[in-house]
Structures are given as C-alpha cells and as structure tokens.
Subunit: 393 residues, 2 copies
C-alpha cells in the first residue's frame, strides 16, 4: 500500500426529498446571496429549479440564476458566471445539475474567488487557486462524481482543448443527492453515467500498485453493485434502489476511496478528453465506453493476472488457472457486452470519428509531445494512436 491522503470534507445529504432542504442548509452556513447555476431546460421543465429557488426564498436567501450549461462545459460559460458573481456580489454558488453544471460552478468559484487571475491558467497548471467561493450541489445525474471530488474539467471552446485540474477548492461544501431526481434521466444519459462511474473505479483499479487488497475489494464490490443497478435502471428508470446505488457509487468512485494506497493515471479519461474536446457532440460516457475495451485489450498483456482478477471478482467468471489470459479477455468482453446492452457505443466508428484525425488526437493527448501517461503500460503517442485505431473497430 502506498502512502496517501484521504480528504473528503463534502457533507453528503442523501435520500428521498432531500432537495427540499436546500434553503435550510444554505441558511445554516450563513450565505446571503447565491448564484444558482444550471443546465438546459430539464431543470426548468421538471419544476426542480422552481423548487430550489422557492426553498432559498423561504429562508430569505437572495439569488441570481445562470442557466445554459451544456455537456463539455465551456470556458466562455464559466467566464460569464464569474462576471455575474462579481457584479452581483454573490457569496455562494449552488450547482443544480450533473457533472457539467458542477464543473462549470467549480470553475466559476475559482474565478470569482480570484478576480485578478486568468482562470484558464489553472487548467494549464501555470497557477493555482488559493481560495474560491464555496459551492453547494443539488445533484440530478449519477455519473461524474464531481459532487464529492476535487476535480473540474472545462473545455476551452476557442482551442478545442479539454483540460482538468484537481484542487481542494473543488470539493463541494455540501451535496444534496436525491436519487428520485434521476428518474427522468433518459436511457442514453443513464448509460453514459453508468459507464462513467465504472470508469472512475476501473481507472484506479488497473494500476501498477500492489498490496491494496482492501481497496481492491471495495472497488470490486462497488463495480458489481453498479453493474447490477445499471441493468435495473435501464429497464425500470424509476427503481429507487437502483438509482440510489448508482448515485452513491458515483460519489464513492471519485472521492478517493477506490484509490486509497494506489498510484494511478486516468489514461482512458485522458484519451477521451481529446475525443470529446475535438468532437464536443460526443458525450463523455459514450467516449469512455467506445475507448475502454480497446484500452483494456491493449493493456491486458502487461498484467494478465490483474485483468483475470477483474473477470473473477467482478464478473463472477471461473478462473482458468492454466490460461489466465482467457479469463482476462472474458472479463473485458463481459464489460463490452454490458456497455452494449445499455445501448452504449463500443467503437469510435459508431461515434463517426474520422480515422484521419487520430494522429491529431494523440498529439494533443501527449500535450504536443510534452508528456506520456504512465500506467500498467505507459502511453506515448504511438501507443495512443494504436488504441484509437483499435477502437475504430
């Protein structure tokens, strides 16, 4: 087990009807004026936005609203939010939505807390925010884990670069997680979320660190539960237990629990960021789904037993002791089949990615020759090209 720090200060308020408490909770912390940040029309049409605003009003908390965050949230939207916060003297940001809204809110919080800084510099690791406005969350999508995580990913719409950075300022102060709010999430987005949750745990699980039996077992148990719940939510969108499992697993997958004692680099996420950075129409979860099986088949020969362990402990496969590769590949196949069963793409072809842009994606993923990605197999540009090509199908 490697040395680690575990710090998840976010207060999670989980369960039915919890979103109705948002006014009381914000009031507890003594905030005066909120930016209520949200996405498209669904928060409006479902009545959630009104319910949240009413709850704030009832406690005498002022607010301004800013909607319109889209998948792969942009720097332009965040800059708009920063301007609004400064103009309106907002002291608190309330994200009502999923990963895009939360990440946009975190970026706004960094910017509004440091008006002198250029917020994009943080994403280029040229600078780091010393402070930020506090962020609270009313979660509407089980996927990103951003509701408990230190991460924040933004796309610079001018350059097509999608970049993330981790900061303690990104841990939300509180997250209100009501699984009922995800009943209305459609099949495709539910599938994307399930893949994203699994990916957050899988990227930590397939690490070259050893001696992490406890963390392994937690990760394996979480993956089994997500697979079980993902299947049920796909058939019965309003199954509370399945939606609750996905939501809680989403938070635990990205808060540090499933990486305690391990080093890891999220290789598939990095490969996917270039994909959806270049093709903003591609949903993050769909990109992960299309890339993971190829990443896994490419990586597997370098640690066959790890992939076999995954097949046995997550997919209940019998271990082929004479030919562990068989078990390893069967586990990858089971994952691919599961993603397909949810209606997710498992090749880049299905996403209409042009083969002649692979070179450019790989180049961007190396940050223009400035980095390789360590892991079970280290990825340089040649390896990235190989994985993207395998994923073309």
């Amino acid at each position: 087990m490697e040395n680690f720090e575990f710090f998840t200060p976010t207060r999670v308020i989980f369960g039915r009807n919890t979103h109705l408490k948002v006014g009381t909770i914000v009031k507890e912390y003594g905030f005066k004026k909120a930016l209520v940040h949200f996405g498209g029309s669904s928060a409006k049409n479902s009545g959630l936005l009104d319910a949240v605003c009413d709850a704030l009003k009832a406690e005498g908390i002022e607010y301004v609203t800013l909607g319109g965050v889209q998948a792969n949230p942009t720097l332009a939207m965040a800059e708009k939010g920063i301007g609004l916060c400064l103009k309106e003297k907002v002291d608190f940001i309330l994200a009502v939505g999923g990963g895009s809204v939360m990440d946009s809110s975190k970026c706004i919080a960094d910017g509004a807390g440091n008006p002198e800084a250029n917020v994009w510099d943080y994403f280029l690791h040229k600078d780091a925010p010393a402070k930020a406005l506090p962020v609270g969350v009313v979660l509407t999508l089980s996927a990103s884990g951003s509701e408990m995580s230190a991460s924040c990913v933004i796309t610079n719409e001018k350059t097509g670069l999608k970049r993330g950075f981790n900061s303690v300022t990104h841990r939300p102060l509180f997250s209100i997680c009501n699984p009922e709010l995800t009943y209305s999430v459609g099949r495709f987005q539910t599938g994307c979320g399930t893949v994203d949750i699994m990916a957050h745990t899988l990227e930590r699980y397939f690490s070259s660190s050893r001696d992490t039996a406890l963390t392994d077992r937690i990760a394996e148990g979480l993956l089994k539960s997500v697979i079980e719940a993902g299947k049920i939510a796909d058939m019965e969108p309003d199954n509370y237990e399945a939606r609750a499992t996905l939501m809680w697993a989403g938070s635990l997958s990205h808060n540090g629990l499933t990486s305690a004692g391990r080093s890891f680099v999220m290789q598939v996420h990095q490969l996917e960021h270039e994909l959806s950075g270049m093709y903003p129409r591609i949903a993050h979860g769909a990109g992960l789904s299309a890339l993971w099986p190829s990443w896994a088949r490419f990586t597997c020969p370098a640690d066959v037993n790890r992939f076999a362990q995954y097949g046995v402990n997550v997919w209940n496969l019998d271990m082929d002791f004479h030919n562990p590769m068989k078990t390893a590949l069967a586990g990858i196949q089971a994952t691919e089949d599961f993603y397909k069963s949810l209606g997710m793409p498992v090749t880049l072809k299905e996403l209409e990615v042009e083969p002649d842009r692979i070179e450019e994606m790989a180049e961007k993923c190396t940050n223009f020759g400035k980095r390789t990605l360590p892991g079970i197999r280290e990825l340089g540009k040649a390896e990235m090209v190989k994985i993207y090509s395998m994923a073309m199908g």
Copy 2:
C-alpha cells in the same frame, strides 16, 4: 436504502513516516500552543513522544504534555486536561495514541471549548457542545476508528457508568496514520483491535434495514480484508501490509461508510460498555469478543438469511439452500474460532465475570429501565440477561 448523511471532514495522512510531518501540518493550520495528550509509558519509551514534540518544536509550536490515559478513559483525566488547557491557553489538542487517548482528547476539547458547561452532561444527553477545541491525531493503535469518527466514550469513575455521545465536534481535524507505529503493539492488543474493527462493521451490517447491496459489499470486503490481515499481523507483527490494512479498515469501519443507508444500534457495544464499565480491567475488544458469538446466536433466528449471507460472503462458506440456519451458524462459529485463534476470549467466564452481577449489568444497560435497544431483535432487560448468561459459557 434509507436516507443518510455522510460527513467525514477529517484529513487522513496515511503511510510510512507520516508522523514526522506533524509539526508542518499543525503549523499549516496556524495553531500556537498544543496540549500533547498520551497514554502510558510506551509512547515515551518508543521515542514517539520525543519525535512528535521535536517536530512541533522545529516549527516553533509551543506545547504542554499530559500523559497517563488508561484503557476505558476516565472523566477525572478529562477534567484534568480541561483545567490544563484553560490554564495554559492551549488552542489545539494533539492526541498521540489509540482510542482511549483520542476519546479523552475529544472530551477535553469539548470541555475546554465550553468552560461554562459540565462536560459529563454531554454524555448524559442533557446538553450538547456547540463548539470545541480542534483535535489532531497521531495514531498508534488500529481499533477504535476514533481517528475518523464522531464518537467519544468516557467512563465516570465515580459511578462506573461508561457513556458515549456523537458530535460533529468529535471529528478530528486531521489524523496521521502510520501503520509502522503499530508494529510494537502486542498480541493481545492487536487481537482486541481486530475484534473492535470487525465489531464496528458487524454492528452496522446486522441491521434490519434492507436494500443496501452496495454498503453490504463494501462491509463484506472490509471484513474479509480484516480477517486476512488480522491473521498475518498475529504471526508477523511487523508486516506492513497487514498493519496498514488493519489501520485503514479501522478508520473506514467507524466513519459512516459501512452504515450508509442503514439504521443501526450498536447492541453488542452497549452490552460491552456495561461490562467494562463495571470491570475496568476488561479491555473493550476482549469484552466484544466474549459477547459477540452469544449475541449472534441469540439474534440469528430472527434473520437467518442475513447471517447466512455473512457466512457465504465473508467466510466463503457454501450456502446450504435447504437449511440456511446451518450456514448461518457456521458463519458465527467461524467468527468465534477466528477470535479464539487470536487469543481472544469468547466467553465471560474467561474474563472472570461473576454470574451474580449479570442482573445489574442488564439493568444499567437499559439505563435503569429507561430504554430498550432496537435491532434485528429488540433487547430489553430480559433479552440482555439472556445474552449475558449465554456468554458465561
């Protein structure tokens, strides 16, 4: 899954040599003067206390020391600490030790933060602390989980009453967890710790709540890891991986993770508190070990399948589908055998408990007729007497 709040703001700094960072970490928070609180001579003799004090000195942090905390920490010691904090104008408490030292520190923090209050009133639920001094931890024992928990248990040496209460003020600000510091923990204390960690998870696992598959799997994985690591640490006290697993499992067992979505009452802990309250020579872990098998056999008929699940998923037993009780009882027996293999008592007779004091223990455990303990089987005085009697052996 039931509604829940999950809030574990403690920053955990885990791994080799981490205790040497204590000065830097305390300085980060800007504290000026610490009470360094510790137990017996082992912290002194091992050189740990000197190392901690040197680290504080190196950063210019003043401190006073208070040692002598014993197992089942007393109100008298806490009152001494409160007086010292007020006299010395301490702004921070550093607990160097295990559960007893941490709980004594938490009680001191409550008292010193509220000089006008009678701190024992908190334990009688007559009052609650609105604030407290911050507490940091250098952990030397894997057992109580107090390093991440909201709990604090103190014995009033005048009345023999052992009482605990949970409070957000009890969550340590940070906990430095170096498994190497537990190499010197002897066989008996290591066994007590292993039992205590398992008990924290078992008490949450055997709940009457349903639909907690994710939390179940996390709990089962944790228990398997603790059993594995407990056996190894018993044979090889300086096995880093085993000591690390016990330490991290200890923190996760009592921070809320293994109860997310469940109601629970720690029945065996309550029964044990009366035991070691009345016989302060009995170590908490030994008391739990002596009581759990009888509690389990008494409770099992009310939820046979739950105990069978435990046998299958934790002890790798084959399910007897025609006679689940057989599997259920085999799981309890496996636990008892494991505790015995660690040199732990599995009856009260081994602890030289007098049968004619059972009545009094049960009476105290009902808080003199004022409460029953809900659970898979609700415990009133008659049921408590029955369990204590079964445990006599």
